[in-house]
């Protein structure tokens, strides 16, 4: 049995990344034997990473690993909830300072509750407002954490 497709894709992606990063690594000063420069460790690590990725691609997994992979079914990746969560988190991260923490947290909670639950729109909004209130109370008032106010 071969390795799972996802495992191979991840290994190939890491291999490509390592090869790509060799270009900037070679542009760094290498220094001398008695005074090594900033390129030394990145070049060693990238070389080993390329070798390890190639080794993983050509090696055959042990029976135990094959059995574990077969049990876990590593081929399927993500669904509407997963990708929706990543998208919502990404947007919240990008807009956090601009929109401010209250609006960002509110919008994030609306998105996540809508994605995960079958609650009505009003309950989703009320749940998100409750979440914003707790964040304000705990982090802003109680812990005095400096959070961005943003537009509002």
């Amino acid at each position: 049995m071969k390795r799972s497709p996802l495992e191979r894709w991840v290994t190939v992606a890491l291999l490509c990344l390592a090869v790509f990063l060799l270009i900037p690594a070679f542009e760094m000063p290498i220094g001398s034997a008695s005074n090594p420069g900033p390129a030394l460790v990145p070049l060693i690590v990238l070389g080993l990473l390329i070798a390890a990725c190639l080794g993983l691609l050509i090696s055959r997994p042990s029976d135990a690993i094959q059995a574990a992979d077969a049990r876990e079914d590593t081929r399927k990746i993500g669904d509407r909830k997963i990708w929706g969560t990543i998208l919502a988190l990404g947007l919240a991260a990008v807009l956090f300072e601009w929109l401010g923490y209250r609006l960002s947290v509110f919008l994030l909670l609306v998105c996540l509750l809508w994605l995960y639950s079958t609650l009505s729109a009003i309950r989703v909004v009320l749940g998100a407002l409750l979440g914003v209130f707790f964040v304000w109370l705990f982090f802003d008032r109680l812990l005095r954490v400096q959070l961005p106010v943003g537009l509002f």
Partner: protein, 493 residues
Amino acid sequence: MIDSLYDGFAFALRWDNLLYCLVGCVWGTVVGVLPGLGPLAGLTLLLPATYYIEPGSAVIMLAGIFYGAMYGGSISSVLLKIPGEAASVITCIDGHEMARQGRAGPALVICAVGSFVGGTLSVIGLGLFAPMIARMMLDVGPAAEFLLMLLALVMMSAVGTESRLKTLIMILVGLLISTIGMDQITAHMRFTFGSVALGDGLSFVAVALGLFGVSEILLNLENTTQMKVFKPTLRSLIPVRSDMRQAAMPILRGSGIGFVLGAIPGISHVISTFLSYSVEKKLSKNPSEFGRGAVAGVAGPETANNATTGSSMIPLMVLGIPAIPATAILLSALMIHGVQPGPELISKHPEVFWGLIASMYVGNLILLVLNIPLVGIFINLLRTPYIYLAPSVLVICIIGIYAVNASSFDLMVMVVFGLLGYVFRKASFDVAPLLLAVVLGDRIEVSLRRALIIADGNWLGLFNGSAAQVILLLFALLFTVQWALWRRQRTPR
């Protein structure tokens, strides 16, 4: 030492520190109980709350979360057959079987007593051995420091639960990530591609929370079915005398195994629990009972788990090497407060070290006294629908990460590493070695380059000195054991 310990108790028994210890223990148990959180997420989520308190108190609270989570993990293992954190996997086997036989109460009490004994004995060991090792480490140069950290990473690769090659790849990716930003010796920018935000490197806390917190939630979202929870009555919690007699020796052996393995950098709790389980099975007069609710199968591993927690503080405090990702967060918290873990920690910040030791005695007692009567409350937590828990945790992650550096770039790092962690874990790559390599990467590089400068570019000069030669001997021993195991696997039976 007695005087220092007395001072430590005076610090730990201050009312505010007792409160921090209690908060840490309760919060740790909560995150340990809830599948999908665990000690790392628990530590990171409460990290912002420690910015405004003194370093010693912060460490007391964070350590409370750490060992509280280790105990909490056993509750969901016994009652749900779902480990709250990785080290409790082995408790699922016999602990849950005991629960199915109507003996959930004794199983939980044995876990609590084992955790208390293991935790307390390991703290005694920590107080005895850490100062000795610290004195020895003061004479160690950069070459031995480099070899020691390399040994920790190699050890992790050797004993990892996934394939060794995959663990090695994760370590190398972690080392690569640690090189991003300004070089510490020459101030040369590496892999920043012109980005100012990347100049300081990637925030360790953001990487950790992405890899473990966010990715764990994404993985759990794939299966949000509500599970059946066993609810023991208060009366059924009392174990019978025969249970305690059967648990006594496994608890003592588990304490020894957990303490010794925890003190070795690179060995995780999972290894000590599995080793304790296999030792108990080998020593048992009735090995067929294992897997069918054997008391020793619960007592040994649970004790080993908590004993490892105490002794894993030795490499963290004395060498500055975190054994597992959760202790890496503790390391990060110490550094945020301006406390540099290492051989000089005990002399420079005695209140942090001895206060931590004293608070661990107190914390273990708090866990024993609180958790048995409160088990009903923790069971009710297990009934919280994941669809409400996940958004709350994600929001706390976002606020917590922003609070560290007031940087939205860190939020993006967390999301990217959340996605990467999810993909890596789906592809059966263990992300724990990656995180530890990120933590140790900077120090490995600096010590290697300093050692090469001292040795005038002679790589063989790295092995001069008795400390380096002892570490080299350990490398040889590790490779010999690995080679012997590999030969045994390949020999046809």
